[in-house]
């Protein structure tokens, strides 16, 4: 998978931008705070309609503008695709795929995939369960776009049930009670299916994480990913019934896949509390690499790799090992300092305050 060209209008710091990319490795070099990461974020947005930096929509629109536009010319095994996304402050975003209105987000998954490494990835190990869930769910959908309706259906059922819980304010009349039964049924149905997909993904990913850890760290260590879920044994339907009184009192659904976690252990010890900072950093990279390899294997084509400032935290050995561990494909990386000398650069873009110049190699 390739991005050949990127156009931006009023996206973050960029008023107008038209940028071509070559295959292979593209290095975006420039001091901190000049907008290098914004370029990766824009590419990520064209692929996922979301910021991999978890930025709110508003933050992506240039100050003083009402909307931002991201256009990307993509290529998947020789099939070209044009993605055009308009991000509006009003929240009504428009997305065109090959000049046709995008029917489902999952249609985009069939055209382009990205793997993004961000400086905040350490949080995957150290932070709360939300980031780990979205890593797993993201891979579940990227693996097979037909999984997207399961995830979307679960999320929407949950929002509907929570809205109902809030509206009844703890008092259930017959019609509210029957409605809650309906949403329990819908939520249990999609939630059970989502959890099966998550479990399958975690089973597939675990050996790949162990292997990626060895490749990057240079030594053998057993990594185990465990799907931690409070309700699976009992079943979601029954768990929702059991939790109903508490849910009504709190006005929110307290049990379900949205509360699950993926615990990660390194050599029998929980990595979140027991691994060193260096081990945690390697583990975070290994998770991303494993996901990337999984998708590359399934689709027979590597997702576009976005490496946002990952070298600043790594010594040269591990940086080289990381790059060597990634399958061939397009890589776009940002760095404030010259990348390790072994990085074979095909394209070098220099970013200064608001301008980008290509330096011939």
């Amino acid at each position: 998978m390739l991005i050949r060209r990127l156009w931006l209008r009023d996206f973050r710091s960029y008023g107008e931008l038209d940028l071509s990319f070559t295959d292979g490795t593209c290095v975006i070099l420039g001091p901190n705070g000049v907008g290098k990461s914004n370029l990766l974020e824009a590419i990520g947005y064209a692929a996922q309609l979301d910021s991999f930096r978890s930025a709110p929509i508003d933050a992506m629109i240039r100050r003083g503008a009402d909307s931002a536009v991201v256009r990307a010319q993509l290529d998947r095994n020789g099939r070209e695709a044009l993605v055009e996304a308009e991000i509006n402050r009003s929240g009504r975003n428009r997305v065109l795929l090959n000049r046709q209105r995008l029917a489902r987000t999952s249609d985009l998954t069939d055209v382009v995939l990205v793997t993004a490494f961000a400086p905040t990835d350490l949080e995957l190990i150290k932070g709360g369960p939300g980031l780990r869930r979205s890593l797993i769910d993201g891979l579940v959908v990227s693996m097979d776009s037909r999984n997207e309706p399961v995830k979307a259906g679960f999320e929407r059922s949950l929002r509907q049930r929570n809205a109902l819980l809030k509206q009844v304010r703890g008092r259930l009349d017959t019609s509210a009670s029957a409605t809650l039964d309906v949403w329990d049924h819908q939520l249990a149905d999609s939630g059970e299916r989502l959890s099966v997909l998550r479990q399958g993904l975690i089973d597939d990913l675990t050996p790949l994480v162990t292997k990626a850890y060895r490749d990057i760290a240079g030594y053998e260590a057993e990594v185990v990913l465990h799907y931690a879920s409070s309700w699976r044994e009992r079943g979601l339907k029954e768990s929702l019934v059991a939790s109903r009184e508490d849910d009504l009192r709190r006005g929110v659904t307290l049990v379900g896949p949205h509360r699950d976690d993926v615990t990660i252990s390194l050599g029998d010890m929980p990595a979140r509390t027991h691994a060193s900072q260096g081990e945690q950093r390697t583990l975070a990279l290994a998770l991303r690499v494993a996901g990337h390899r999984l998708l590359a294997g399934i689709h027979g084509s590597s997702p576009i790799l976005l490496l946002d400032d990952v070298f600043s935290e790594l010594d040269d050995n591990r940086a080289e090992a990381l790059l060597a561990s990634l399958p061939d494909g397009q890589r776009i990386l940002t760095t404030a300092t010259e990348p390790p000398s072994t990085v074979h650069t095909n394209q070098l873009l220099m970013v200064a305050e608001g301008t980008i110049t290509e330096r011939t190699l």
Partner: protein
């Protein structure tokens, strides 16, 4: 943006922008189009809106749109009184009528259960539907809500509350594009879904 247009133009753009499916840019385009056409044409549109608002009302039995106390379908004596087709909106009645596969009566819920929009069962015409079904004479209720999450939830809710002896509850068969609206299905697909409906409860 404030002060870009005179007040009258801005009022028109705002009013158009509140219509479903009309974004700010389309609202602007329609407004300028209306200002460009001659007075007669603009008046025709204005009169059509006023007339429709004055004359058209909801049928007192099925809540479809019509110009009298009873809509055209409810006042048609040749239709089958034993079967009711439940839909979300009047436009769904039109979609099903186009298939020529259904000769019974309708019930228009005026929406689907959607708590995110503040719509629960009490905001829909469900109480009236239950009254129609329990009053007797009905043998089958076909639930034709949209094949999306809210439509399915509404169908499930109805199948629970319409548990009346001697009444079969059925649901449009799958085969309709999931997540879509009934009105976007072509006649053939919709006709087939109606024919191949599956029984949820009843005999």
């Amino acid at each position: 943006m404030a002060g870009a247009y005179s007040e009258a133009i801005q009022d028109l753009i705002d009013a158009l922008g509140r219509l479903p499916g009309v974004g700010p840019k389309s609202a602007q385009r329609i407004a300028f189009h209306l200002l460009k056409v001659d007075v007669d044409e603009a008046n025709r549109l204005a009169r059509a809106i006023v007339r429709a608002k004055e004359r058209v009302r909801f049928c007192s039995v099925c809540f479809n749109l019509g110009e009298h106390e009873l809509c055209e379908i409810c006042s048609d004596v040749k239709r089958d009184d034993h079967v009711i087709c439940v839909v979300e909106e009047p436009r769904d009645v039109v979609a099903i009528e186009r298939t020529h596969e259904f000769r019974g009566r309708y019930h228009v819920l005026q929406g689907a259960i959607d708590h995110l929009q503040g719509v629960g069962p009490d905001q829909l015409r469900i109480r009236e539907l239950i009254a129609r079904v329990t009053a007797g004479g009905i043998t089958e209720v076909i639930i034709c809500t949209n094949p999306n999450l809210e439509g399915e939830a509404t169908a499930l809710y109805l199948s629970k509350v319409l548990d009346v002896p001697g009444v079969t509850i059925s649901r449009l068969s799958s085969g309709l594009p999931v997540g879509g609206d009934l009105e976007y299905a072509d006649e053939l697909t919709l006709g087939r879904a109606l024919e191949g409906r599956r029984v949820i409860t009843g005999d």
